[in-house]
């Protein structure tokens, strides 16, 4: 432990701590911009400078290590003047359309200016960088607001290893932008939205599709929505409640109040995915198919694989994602069942994910000239609609999801967390293969936030070797091992976002502390559901009986399975 004095107060912290860590212990607020609790130190914004006795110049508290007996002043005249000037320099190079900025409410720069009591007239002429990029269906880039903190670049390159963001030019013209200035849609971006989650200001935001949904609600079309597993975990948080507040019933009520006609549960197609994917896995194992089989639920991961690992497309499960399966069923089976033409149904997905917007635009996910999914809203966008409609979310009563796709199991629900698809698959594959009842449903080896998790699960005569990776940096490590044939797994789950879907780019702004609470909520919801195995979902059995026939059957292949493309040309 190291003892030091900050603003006259003694504090003791662990060796290797930074001054910022120590100030937190004393509850002293220090303005930070480039600092992010989930990222490495950058020390470039200089907002957090403090005066350390014996140091010639001010030091960034986010980076400067504590030493025994150190004396620190966090609001001396020198510090106040430097911070105020640095803020002024940033503001004079920032597009200040705050009143109608999507990040108005939670912009870190605005909050810092407010907390610092900065209300001077700027002494420097305002320069606004040019560059508005709306090419991507998922993410909007507005360079006029970028403050060069580098958090997006860290998220994209260091955590995700996608390399869609790079630093260009020098000095006053420095930009965090796409390689060679290409638009985001033509860049290697895989639409995961982790950059949106990392951005402290409004430079990276989610492509806003709420207006399309309002128009559909106002039209004669039947608006049918599906709600992904993670949404019930994070929507309340997006509306100001504690992270991990589960609001399944209120969510349905709110959507009905908005005017959405039918609200289904994507947990249902998550269960359906397990039936299809589990059957596919057993088929591959028994018939010498390509192994390891890798999950295909995460559209960010799919584009990553198509771009960086096109030699492993055959390893991807041919199953569509739960969203896409749902879309296909809505415009075929369901339309037919309720006697509507597919084009009279407006299909909306509520997702924790920005990449789902890209997935919905894939031409192969549709038929006869219309798309299976008309629009994807992220949690942030749905929260915005609920707020703007004046709905008091906190006090809403519960409503059940609609039939016939309103029933999901705990297995479907845990799709929202890393390791969830794997655990759900293991629960079903075990019972289907052995015919025995699984005593312990909790496969804890595949749970939690460790980057790459491994397990060997005895299923009958076979020891099934599995691995789970979340965050594409971890996926890259795992895939490099697969490519080099250093590992011999049967089944791999990969989720593009750190932590899985609860860490998706469409959720409210996160950090690992909030993520831990979300994760806890996922397994709570699983425990609370009456059914926890996909193959015991009666609605799924009914669908097979009435329409699909059998898993991996002819109808399934037509509607629920897909194919992939080599996109490595993006890198050329």
């Amino acid at each position: 432990m190291v003892k030091l004095t900050i603003d006259g107060q003694q504090v003791e912290v662990k060796e290797g701590s930074t001054i910022l860590d120590a100030t937190k212990k004393l509850n002293i607020w220090i303005p930070t911009l480039c600092h992010h609790p989930d990222q490495a130190v950058k020390a470039n914004c200089r907002m957090c400078v403090v005066d350390v006795e014996g140091q010639r110049v001010l030091q960034p508290s986010c980076a400067f290590p504590v030493t025994e007996g150190m004396v620190v002043h966090t609001h001396s005249q020198k510090v106040r003047s430097a911070r105020s000037n640095i803020l002024e320099l940033i503001l004079a190079h920032h597009n200040q359309d705050c009143l109608h900025c999507p990040r108005n409410e939670n912009c870190e720069l605005r909050i810092i200016a407010e907390k610092m009591g900065f209300n001077k007239k700027l002494r420097f002429p305002l320069h606004i960088k040019e560059g508005m990029d709306t090419s991507s269906p998922s993410i909007v880039r507005d360079l006029s607001k970028c403050i060069n903190c580098g958090r997006c670049e860290y998220a994209c390159n260091e955590i995700q290893t996608v390399f869609a963001i790079t630093k260009e030019n020098r000095s006053f013209d420095t930009l965090y932008t796409t390689p060679f200035g290409m638009d985001l849609a033509s860049s290697p971006c895989i639409n995961c939205g982790q950059c949106v989650q990392a951005c402290p200001v409004g430079a990276l935001t989610i492509h806003d599709d709420t207006e399309k949904v309002w128009q559909a609600i106002d039209s004669d079309k039947l608006v049918v929505a599906q709600v992904a597993p993670a949404v019930r975990i994070t929507l309340a948080e997006a509306l100001g409640e504690e992270p991990g507040s589960i609001s399944t019933g209120r969510l349905v009520t709110a959507m009905k109040q908005l005017g959405i006609d039918v609200v289904f549960d994507t947990d249902f197609t998550a269960d359906l995915t397990i039936m299809e994917e589990g059957t596919e896995l057993l088929g591959r194992i028994n018939n010498g198919g390509v192994l390891p089989m890798i999950t295909s639920c995460s559209p960010g991961w799919i584009k990553f694989c198509e771009t960086y690992y096109p030699d492993h497309l055959a390893n991807l499960s041919t199953c569509k994602s739960p969203q896409a399966m749902f879309g296909a069923l809505l415009k075929t089976y369901y339309a037919n069942k309720i006697g509507k033409k597919p084009q009279d149904i407006y299909s909306v997905s509520i997702m924790p994910c920005t990449a789902k917007k890209y997935e919905a635009n894939r031409p192969e996910l549709g038929r006869d000239g219309y798309a299976d999914i008309d629009v994807v809203l992220t949690v942030q966008e749905l929260a915005k609609m609920i707020k703007s409609a004046g709905i008091n979310y906190k006090d809403l009563p519960d409503t059940q999801f609609d039939d016939p796709f309103g029933l999901g199991t705990g297995a479907g629900e845990i799709f929202g967390a890393t390791g969830g698809v794997m655990e759900a698959a293991l629960r079903s594959v075990y019972e289907i293969v052995t015919g025995e009842e699984l005593k312990n449903l909790d496969f804890t080896e595949v749970r939690g936030f460790e980057g790459i998790k491994e397990a060997t699960v005895p299923v009958g005569n076979l020891n099934v070797k599995v691995a789970v990776a979340h965050g594409l940096g971890n996926a890259r490590k795992l895939m490099d091992a697969v490519r080099a044939k250093q590992v011999d797994y049967h089944f791999i789950e990969i989720m593009a976002c750190p932590g899985g879907c609860i860490g998706g780019g469409g959720n409210p702004i996160k950090n690992w502390e909030k993520m831990a609470k979300r994760l806890k909520a996922v397994y709570e919801e699983d425990k609370n559901l009456p059914r926890r195995k996909s193959h015991e979902n009666p609605a799924v059995s009914e669908l097979y009986k009435q329409f699909l026939g059998e898993p991996n059957g002819h109808k399934s292949h037509e509607l629920l399975h897909t194919h992939y493309f080599n996109r490595s040309d993006i890198l050329k």
Binding site: A43, V57, I90, S171
Partner: protein, 418 residues
């Protein structure tokens, strides 16, 4: 006044790239001694000599080596900073062109002292002729057993390669230089950790200026006591000064540390025309003084006591035909071009200082603009990440301090009259 040539050999009649001829003239004697010495002995000799870094910061060389020596590692590096980018400075080039082997010898001895077997000379891209010459010198050293495996029959190994920079001024900053060698964007790293602990490729790395390394063989050959006979008590040895600007005899000259600036001015043959108006010490990132401040000893302590800097040893003489505002504009244009863009004060601040200087240029400035420049400069000096942003406002700050009339003469007329 005569030069005191210790580094720059007086004998210019031999081929500088030839290791044999360098040895004939007393070269590689220090290395012969060093291979017999323990690392501690070499470090102590350097500590005793009081040799301080000649790149600008003036850090004690012996202490720096001891940090690298004390950090255990399977690999260590010696990097020679030859990214001589400070405008008005050409001393490293002259050293390489006259006594390249003294730098090579200094690097090998430093390697023996800190436990490194690999040296890299980071050479600025603008010196292709030096690259050619150095390549030949290294080859000659290798051929004669001074470089490579089992140096001079000992069990020591050391080899040197040349890395050519890409033209960025900031890469003269030691951590940006390391980033550049690693193939990354030239941007300074946050310190600590210092390169002596976590340096090139994460390994302990000794980084020294060309001139500092060239001093090392002299000290080992002649001993610390001899070295301390030159220069000042706190900063012994000589210093290479690059006299430039409107001076009659521009060039690189070697004098004892602490030489008086007015003697340098006289040595340089004074200004070509008119009268001396100002002097800038240490390159564009250095201080500007007026003609009345010429009587000053050129050593780190004396200069620091007057709020001035020695920097790289460049001395720019400015006669009274020059417009100081034009000069400051030019300096700020340089920094706006060369800021790496990583930290806010430097990225944003240099452009704002340039804008303010231009207000004086077109007579649209106010008295408040002088305060704004001082206030902004203070933030840049104390809050920038690396030496570039900490030093770039120096010219403006010192001109305001020493030649305020330059600015007050140029403020808006109505304000001047009122």
């Amino acid at each position: 006044m005569e030069e005191t040539r210790l580094i720059l050999n007086n004998n210019t009649n031999y081929n500088p790239v030839c290791a044999k001829e360098y040895a004939k003239n007393g070269g590689y004697e220090a290395l012969k001694k060093a291979v017999q010495m323990t690392p501690e002995d070499i470090i102590n000799t350097l500590k005793e000599s009081g040799l301080r870094g000649r790149g600008g910061a003036g850090f004690p060389m012996g202490l720096k080596i001891s940090f690298v020596y004390k950090t255990p590692s399977d690999q260590k590096y010696v990097v020679c900073n030859a990214d001589e980018g400070e405008p008005g400075t050409n001393k490293d080039r002259v050293i390489f062109e006259t006594v390249p082997h003294s730098v090579i010898e200094g690097m090998i001895i430093s390697g023996l002292a800190c436990g490194a077997d690999k040296g890299i000379i980071y050479l600025r891209w603008e010196y292709p002729q030096v690259n050619e010459l150095l390549t030949k010198a290294l080859e000659s050293a290798r051929k004669n057993g001074y470089l490579g495996k089992n140096i001079l029959g000992s069990n020591h190994n050391f080899d040197i390669e040349i890395y050519i920079g890409a033209g960025a001024y900031v890469c003269g900053e030691e951590t940006a230089l390391l980033e550049s060698i690693e193939g990354k964007r030239g941007e300074a790293r946050f310190k600590p950790p210092f390169p002596g602990v976590v340096g090139l490729w994460g390994k302990p790395t000794l980084i020294n200026n060309v001139e500092t390394l060239a001093n090392v063989p002299l000290i080992l050959t002649n001993g610390p006591a001899w070295f301390k006979k030159f220069g000042t008590e706190k900063c012994p040895g000589t210093k290479l000064f690059t006299l430039c600007g409107n001076v009659n005899k521009p060039g690189v000259y070697e004098f004892p540390m602490g030489v008086n600036l007015k003697d340098l001015f006289a040595f340089g043959g004074e200004v070509k025309k008119g009268k001396l108006q100002a002097v800038q010490l240490g390159g564009v990132s250095g201080s500007i003084i007026n003609a009345e401040q010429l009587d000053v000893k050129m050593d780190p302590e004396t200069l620091a006591s007057k709020g001035l800097t020695l920097g790289s040893g460049a001395v720019l003489f400015i006669d009274d035909s020059e417009d100081m505002i034009d000069l400051l504009e030019n300096i700020m244009e340089f920094f706006v071009h060369e800021s790496c863009g990583k930290c806010t004060p430097c990225r944003e601040g240099n452009m704002r200082l340039l804008e303010l200087i231009r207000k004086f240029k077109d007579h649209s400035a106010t008295l408040e603009d002088i305060d704004t420049m001082m206030d902004l400069s203070e933030t840049m000096i104390c809050a920038s990440l690396c030496g570039l942003g900490q030093a770039s406002p120096t010219a403006i700050v010192t001109t305001i301090r020493n030649m305020k009339k330059v600015f007050t003469d140029r403020i808006k007329e109505e304000q001047n009259n009122g």
